[in-house]
């Protein structure tokens, strides 16, 4: 194990990037994926790299390990770890540092451990490499680290396999592994994104505690601005491979200097402030290919403060105060950017319920076999709620809470084990009525994952008008093209994309097509299953505004399933909170969020970082004991 430098002599920076440039060969030209990135990370500090997908933040982590994807290489600048350039280092030296002085916490904990080896075996392998020779010592150390990661019953855990652990527990094991060598630098790449929302504060707190304990410098990669404000000391905001702004976290995020940072803030729905239309940046971040042909500031096409000069020359990085840098010539005007739109008008909600659910239940029989007894697993238990015309109701809960099951029960993809579903007064649990309802297209669903929800072999025009192809309804191709044009216009997709395949569209465009398909024959009620999860904040803002506009124009109710409370607060008027198959709390959103009754609702609310960077997040407070 490496010795940490003495406490007094901490002059060497843990990590320093000097004009780092990572480029790739695309179509014969050299295109930079990261350009001129510079930052200083002092020992024991946390630096947040914030940005949307494609900004290049994960590429920094890979550059540190020199495990860049094929075709990518460091073409200029330096990345210094305690004074040594990682890019120029001999491979043997670099491999020596990895796992010892430099450790990684991965994004997807469940797949980051070898499924056919026990936790103990993998820990043992890691510690053996670090130099622990005695098997007993290794075992003791493993147990000590796992206990420090707040994993109960560490001894028994050593004999378990990864698939027996939950996502949160796997991540704790990985954090324990990372910190077991007393590293001087840890890179955490979106460590909570793949986990349930209520796990987030616990994992973040664990990382923060471990970091404090070992005095490690941390690079924290995330897309969540508010999270970075709470956790990090320094923050660097990245856009299209370039650092557009950097400085102390709280300062940057309470008064951003770069227009992009400000727009990103305004695109985030808030938990406390008055509802307003979200700020929408048009289009999306340029891809590597598009960057080739761009001159001037890369944010110019989307910037509200753009001028001619912005488009001509790329803005230099200037210091605006102690420790704060920004790459924008119009930085002074940034604070003037605001959502100029009116606050979202409260929609008319009629008294008539379009959907009524009474005591809905769903049980699954598992473990049936010749010699095994049958168990029943209850996915949904005694769910009762109603949705009125034009009302947007949110259904929140974690994975496994039963929200997707309710969605499937409502549209008829699963059969309820008990209870009734009434759509416009007709009982849907009867099969014939369900067919009539489908035929009348009264209820439709928008699925979560557009990769899986759109047939990759069908063209856009064919997908959005797929409903016109069904059953005995045979619409002519002309009718379908006309309707396609209408629908694409409504969801804000350019009409010339009608001939494309889903694989040729961006994530946001695919989701719009998904929505358009469900709206082909305008339903009375739409079930939206996590349709904005996993999308970038700016794309998410576009879609949320789209949904609000569509409701105003077309008129339909929606059951909006999500785990993201701020999104839900922005869009919906009522909320249903699900926990382990039951609806534990329901009511108007403001009432429930301001004064939550059920402990699970409280847990969900405390998992959301506060809007304002100045407010301390109670979940991260070391004084507050963890459960």
């Amino acid at each position: 194990m490496c010795d940490s430098p003495k406490r007094g002599a901490r002059t060497v920076l843990a990590l320093q990037a000097k004009n780092l440039t990572v480029s790739a060969r695309i179509d014969g030209a050299v295109v930079p994926a990261i350009r001129g990135l510079s930052f200083d990370l002092a020992p024991g500090k946390i630096l947040g790299l914030v940005g949307e997908s494609g900004a290049g933040k994960s590429m920094v982590g890979r550059a540190i390990a020199q495990l860049l994807p094929a075709g990518f290489a460091v073409t200029a600048g330096a990345l210094l770890f305690e004074g040594e350039d990682l890019a120029q280092m001999a491979p043997a030296r670099r491999r020596f540092l990895l796992g010892r002085a430099i450790a990684f916490i991965p994004q997807a904990p469940m797949t980051a451990l070898n499924p056919v080896r026990t936790i103990g075996a993998q820990f043992d392998e890691h510690l053996a490499r670090l130099g622990e020779d005695s098997r007993n010592d290794r075992r003791e150390r493993a147990i000590a680290m796992l206990t420090a990661a707040r994993l109960p019953n560490a001894c028994a855990l050593l004999g378990r396999y990864p698939h027996q652990l939950s996502g949160g527990m796997c991540q704790r094991v990985l954090i324990a592994l990372a910190f077991s060598s007393n590293p001087r630098l840890v890179i955490a790449d979106e460590p909570t994104t793949a986990l349930d929302v209520t796990m987030h504060p616990q994992i973040l707190r664990l990382i923060a505690d471990m970091q404090r304990q070992h005095g490690t410098a941390v690079i924290f990669i995330t897309h969540d601005l508010r999270l970075a404000a709470q956790l990090c000391d320094q923050v660097t905001v990245m856009y299209a491979g370039r650092a557009v702004e950097s400085g102390p976290a709280r300062a940057v995020l309470s008064s951003p200097a770069h227009p992009y940072t400000r727009c990103l803030q305004l695109a985030n729905p808030s938990m406390r402030a008055e509802r307003r239309a979200l700020y929408v940046m048009p289009d999306q971040m340029p891809s590597l290919r598009q960057l080739q042909n761009m001159s001037g500031c890369h944010f110019a096409p989307r910037c509200p403060l753009v001028t001619e000069e912005c488009r001509r020359i790329e803005p230099p990085t200037v210091a605006i105060s102690a420790g704060r840098m920004v790459a924008c010539i119009r930085a002074a005007a940034t604070s003037g950017i605001a959502s100029a739109q009116r606050p979202v008008a409260a929609p008319d909600i009629s008294k008539r319920p379009v959907l009524q659910v009474e005591a809905l239940a769903k049980h699954y029989a598992i473990g049936r076999g010749l010699f095994a007894t049958a168990h029943t697993a209850t996915a949904v238990r005694n769910a009762s709620f109603s949705i009125a015309e034009n009302e947007f109701v949110a259904l929140v809960g974690e994975s496994g809470s039963g929200k997707s099951t309710i969605a499937k029960l409502l549209v008829g993809l699963e059969q309820p084990s008990g209870g009734r579903i009434l759509l416009n007064g007709e009982d849907l649990t009867d099969a014939a009525a369900r067919r009539r309802a489908l035929a009348a297209a009264s209820i439709q669903m928008v699925f979560q994952d557009p990769q899986s929800a759109l047939n990759p072999r069908r063209r856009v025009a064919s997908i959005v008008t797929q409903a016109m192809e069904a059953g005995s309804r045979h619409a002519s191709w002309d009718e379908r093209l006309a309707r396609t044009r209408e629908l694409l216009g409504e969801v804000g997709v350019a009409a010339d994309l009608a001939a494309r395949l889903p694989g040729q569209l961006s994530g946001g465009q695919r989701q719009r097509i998904n929505i358009a398909r469900a709206l082909c024959h305008i339903p009375k009620i739409l079930i939206a299953d996590e349709i904005v999860s996993g999308l970038d904040v700016s794309i998410q803002a576009q879609l949320l505004n789209l949904l609000a506009r569509l409701r105003a124009e077309l008129g339909f109710a929606m059951l909006f399933i999500s785990h993201d409370l701020s999104v839900v607060r922005h869009l919906c008027s009522r909320v249903l909170v699900m926990y382990r198959g039951e609806i534990v709390e329901q009511g108007p959103i403001d009432a429930v969020f301001d004064d939550p009754q059920h402990p699970h609702t409280r847990a969900l609310l405390s998992s959301v970082p506060p809007d304002a960077p100045e407010t301390a997040w109670s979940s991260l407070d070391p004084a507050v004991p963890t459960e």
Partner: protein, 338 residues
């Protein structure tokens, strides 16, 4: 852990019994559809029609088909599988004499196939991304395209006829005694202490075993290579690299262990197919195993013998598949522990 595996094997074997019943019934029916009269065949040519009729009634051939099957089943459960019409011996004893020979051949071939397959797979994986990759790939497809009976003929011609290096007829050189204790000649020769018999038996085993082994190794090669390829794209391999483990350590400690699962399963299934492939190789090399017996039985429409041998093949394959399934559960923690 042992308890779960034993329980699983017991469950599978019990589930295999109805399969066996259905298989034997199907075999029975298919064979009864033949335009062949077992009664007439088992009587000397001078028999009169009346005598044949008596024989028919004696053999129960005038009864309805389901009843005939039940009679056969009842007899079989008591160990009586009928008499071979051609050899005029109990079918059971014929099978008992030839089954060990076939098993010996199959095992030897499987060992060869495994060694060649794993070695070849590792080589193919090693050359990925280099210029040798398309060559290695083409060679493996070529090998895949040569079935065991063609290998048998080619090896017979090259090493037996043209080069006179190895013998290609029978199990041992003529004139040597055949000790019979377990039925496995190699083992028996060692037990009796006759090394000359042992050496001769080995020599006679080489060509047929190599023919079978060469025919079945390419599948193992290709599945090992593609499993390794898939595994190297998994997250945990990248994480192992990020923890600083060397490439050699990753291959031996992580990748191979994970790749062994699909490879072993496939090798197990292949063993079943290999076992049935012994038939042709035995014919080509005049090897006195069950396959040769089957061909004789089929050529002479010897129904009881065909039924018995067919059933034996099925039983062996079912046992192999059950063992492979259990091995898979044993090796895969996701199935073994909840």
């Amino acid at each position: 852990m042992i308890a779960t595996v034993v329980k699983l094997m017991a469950r599978r074997l019990l589930a295999a019994i109805p399969i066996l019943l259905v298989v034997s019934a199907l075999l029975f029916c298919v064979l009864r559809l033949l335009p062949v009269d077992p009664a007439a065949m088992s009587m000397p040519p001078t028999a009169t029609i009346a005598e044949i009729e008596v024989k028919r009634r004696e053999m129960g051939l005038d009864r309805p088909l389901p009843q005939q099957y039940l009679i056969w089943l009842n007899d079989a459960l008591h160990g009586d599988f009928g008499r071979s019409i051609v050899f005029r011996r109990e079918a059971r004893s014929l099978v008992a004499a030839t089954l060990p020979v076939t098993i010996q051949l199959a095992l030897a071939a499987m060992v060869l196939a495994a060694v060649l397959g794993v070695g070849g797979g590792l080589v193919m994986f090693h050359v990925r991304g280099t210029l040798f990759e398309p060559l290695a790939d083409f060679v493996s497809i070529l090998l895949l395209s040569i079935p065991e009976f063609l290998w048998g003929l080619i090896l017979l011609f090259v090493f037996g006829v043209a080069l006179h290096l190895l013998p290609f007829t029978g199990q041992v050189a003529p004139g040597l005694p055949l000790p019979h204790i377990t039925g496995f000649l190699l083992l028996d020769a060692l037990l009796v202490g006759r090394f000359d018999v042992f050496v001769s038996a080995c020599q006679h085993l080489i060509l047929p075993a190599v023919a079978l082994g060469l025919a079945f190794s390419p599948t193992i090669m290709r599945v090992l290579r593609s499993s390794l390829f898939d595994i190297y794209h998994e997250d945990y391999i990248e994480q192992a690299r990020l923890r600083g483990l060397s490439e050699g350590h990753i291959l031996l400690g992580h990748a191979l262990k994970n790749a062994s699962l699909p490879t072993l399963t496939l090798a197990g299934v292949q063993f079943g197919i290999l076992f049935s492939g012994t038939l042709l190789v035995e014919v080509i090399y005049s090897y006195p195993g069950m396959g040769n017996l089957m061909v004789d039985a089929v050529r002479n429409a010897d129904l009881p013998l065909i039924q018995t041998i067919g059933l034996t093949y099925c039983v062996v394959v079912l046992v192999i598949n059950t063992a492979v399934d259990s091995l898979y559960v044993l090796l895969n923690p996701k199935l073994r522990v909840r």
